[in-house]
Symmetry: C2
Subunit: 391 residues, 2 copies
């Protein structure tokens, strides 16, 4: 492994963050534009609430973890104020999307917007030492817990005939609970961590194949249906670095080894040997997946894999991890990065050609790229300081 903390630090501070600072701020209404073309021009002004939460969280995190820049705090404030003032219905549920000036467009039909709002409120409360946002973070978290058994509520279209549980819930909870650690009671934190580890590593991680499934039956067994066969390699790998973080917190070496093994298993399974890169969706039985975009290469999948492999190598200096890191690093930086205009492209076709030349849209905002840059910067910095990597 080569030293790379400088690459990630420089890219975060001089390429990625300036892109969002320059192009995404809605000075008039507060909050952020996320639909930005390759050069940063706004091509749609609708506001997708989980991206609002993610960007506010990101800037508050930069303030808390990198430098206490007043500008970053103000950018974060603009987002959390917008979510609080415009983005929540009378019951405290977070809408899916709003117009630029804050009129609700799509109802709160899931709890993911709420999760990112809670993370943003929590991180901003810490940055600004704001008790009101601390309370709102807690309130939003409790509302998520209330809705967790039926996250889509009235909008749930599936019957109770053949219930499946979704990997997304324990995965996001494992991240959310660490984010809100200062706000929640210690026993609440430990209990949710226990739940997440068990669900992720014992239920959704399939013993036989060693990879993560997106949906399982309530008893944990596999179902032979479109959703039951679905694999989302990037999702599984992202969850593994959440598990490594949890394992470090708990000093659980066994969990670290299990998570690292799972990262390698998923990469072996999902790497595209023909064109390089990690496939977006797969079917565990090799049947045609229902997702037509299954063979595309997505930015977040590759960035989360870089974070996972950097954290893995920091713990276990196995050449197999280093080889995978190099392979994914070379593919990602060659195909996704845009040194000229800033940020990364998001969507490539199977051959690695840019499919949509946007830097932000309905599902891509200021989140995976800067978060991964920050995580990789810090992981490499530690490895370089501890002589795990020779500088």
């Amino acid at each position: 492994m080569k030293p790379q903390s400088a690459l990630y630090k420089d890219s975060l501070l001089n390429n990625v963050i300036p892109f969002w600072e320059k192009h995404s701020l809605d000075i008039e209404n507060g909050g952020y534009f996320t639909c930005l073309d390759s050069k940063g021009k706004v091509y749609d002004t609708d506001k997708f609430m989980w991206l609002q939460g993610r960007q506010a969280w990101m800037f508050a995190s930069l303030y808390n973890q990198v430098e206490q820049k007043e500008k970053w705090l103000q950018i974060a404030k603009s987002g959390v104020d917008f979510i609080r003032d415009k983005g929540m219905d009378a019951h405290g549920n977070v809408y899916f999307s709003l117009t630029a000036d804050g009129k609700p467009l799509v109802q709160p039909y899931n709890i993911f917007s709420d999760c990112f709002a809670a993370m943003a409120f929590g991180q901003y409360a810490l940055a600004a030492n704001d008790i009101k946002y601390k309370d709102l973070a807690k309130k939003t978290y409790l509302n998520i817990l209330k809705r967790r058994d039926n996250p889509k509520g009235l909008y749930e279209k599936t019957t109770s005939q053949r219930p499946l549980k979704s990997f997304a819930l324990p995965m996001i909870l494992s991240n959310l609970v660490l984010e809100l650690e200062d706000i929640l009671k210690p026993e609440e934190v430990e209990q949710t961590i226990d739940f997440s580890i068990k669900e992720v590593m014992e239920v959704f991680l399939d013993k036989k194949s060693g990879i993560i499934y997106e949906f399982v039956k309530p008893d944990g067994s596999l179902e032979d249906s479109f959703n039951g066969r679905l694999l989302n390699p990037g999702h599984g790998i992202e969850a593994m670095w959440f598990m490594i973080d949890i394992a470090l917190r708990r000093k659980d070496k066994e969990l670290i080894h299990k998570a690292v093994k799972t990262i390698i298993n998923i990469l072996d399974y999902s790497w595209d040997h023909e064109f390089g890169g990690i496939l977006y969706f797969m079917d565990s039985k090799g049947q045609p997946p229902q997702q037509l975009e299954w063979d595309q290469k997505l930015w977040w999948v590759h960035l989360e894999t870089l974070v996972a492999l950097a954290k893995a190598y920091e713990q276990i200096q196995d050449p197999e991890i280093a080889q995978w890191y190099t392979k994914v690093h070379d593919y990602s930086w060659r195909h996704f990065a845009d040194p000229e205009n800033g940020e990364w492209y998001g969507y490539l076709n199977r051959r690695g050609e840019v499919l949509l030349d946007l830097k932000g849209g309905k599902w891509k905002g200021c989140f995976h790229v800067p978060r991964a840059m920050l995580q990789c910067w810090r992981a490499f910095e530690k490895m370089e300081n501890n002589n795990i990597i020779n500088t």
Copy 2:
């Protein structure tokens, strides 16, 4: 133009229909399996109700229009019985999907399953001279009309903030009302035809560009949003052959010319000059569409275009139509057809390579391929008989 009725007739009767007869019938439960791999093997047994309706309709149509084969009638009966007995909730709404043995999986969250059920009931009633299915077709149609202003009902996630109306509704009604002509009152038929022509040709057909939009504001104007900018070229072209059929029925030459012009406009706009074929989705302002599958080539888009161009040329012998027909014909038969295993592939990537090697799935069943074969067979037969095409 070359004579091609024999090609389409032979392909329909010796390649496509045998595929579905051999592989799709669920002898045990009734209804059809639609998830079939390239050779016809069932890879998933769930039943998607609009595909059940479409296949029942197709076999009843073959019985009514091609040959009164007892086998075809029985296949159609198996489908309509399954829909009637298992596929409808207490209010007569048609579920989206069921298990193989008929347990509801996904609620009736839209009216499209109902539209194809009504078409199947009507066509089967005609084939079997069955008054009960005639009544059920009518009842289902009236229920669709009742739901048309809010087709998603409780499952509608958008607020009333920025309402858009959808092209799919007038388009499907224009087809449905002709299907149910024997069942409905004449004034009901004429009224719905009037509504459809007006909506399709004056509201969704944009005067400036000459192409069809998927969504417009209630006042008919265009909206600058993801849905407001959305173009679905195949959808527009398919609707144009419905319009030609209606125009012939009404002896409306002006409508024929307008529909044919629109077909050419859409083809000029959406043909992929780099790799050939018609793009699946486009953004009217050239912005990145939210559909990641936008650049794929889909079977139904190309088949409906062949039908539209054959019908257009039957009416107007313009060399431009013949050139487009030849271009789309050559692309389609070279890339989608599978003379060896039967049926057509459904999903190609932008380069025309098979992306999913299924013959049927959640959204592809026994419908577009055989319907287009039958329509093209008949259109070419007429042109050959009338010396529009020299045999």
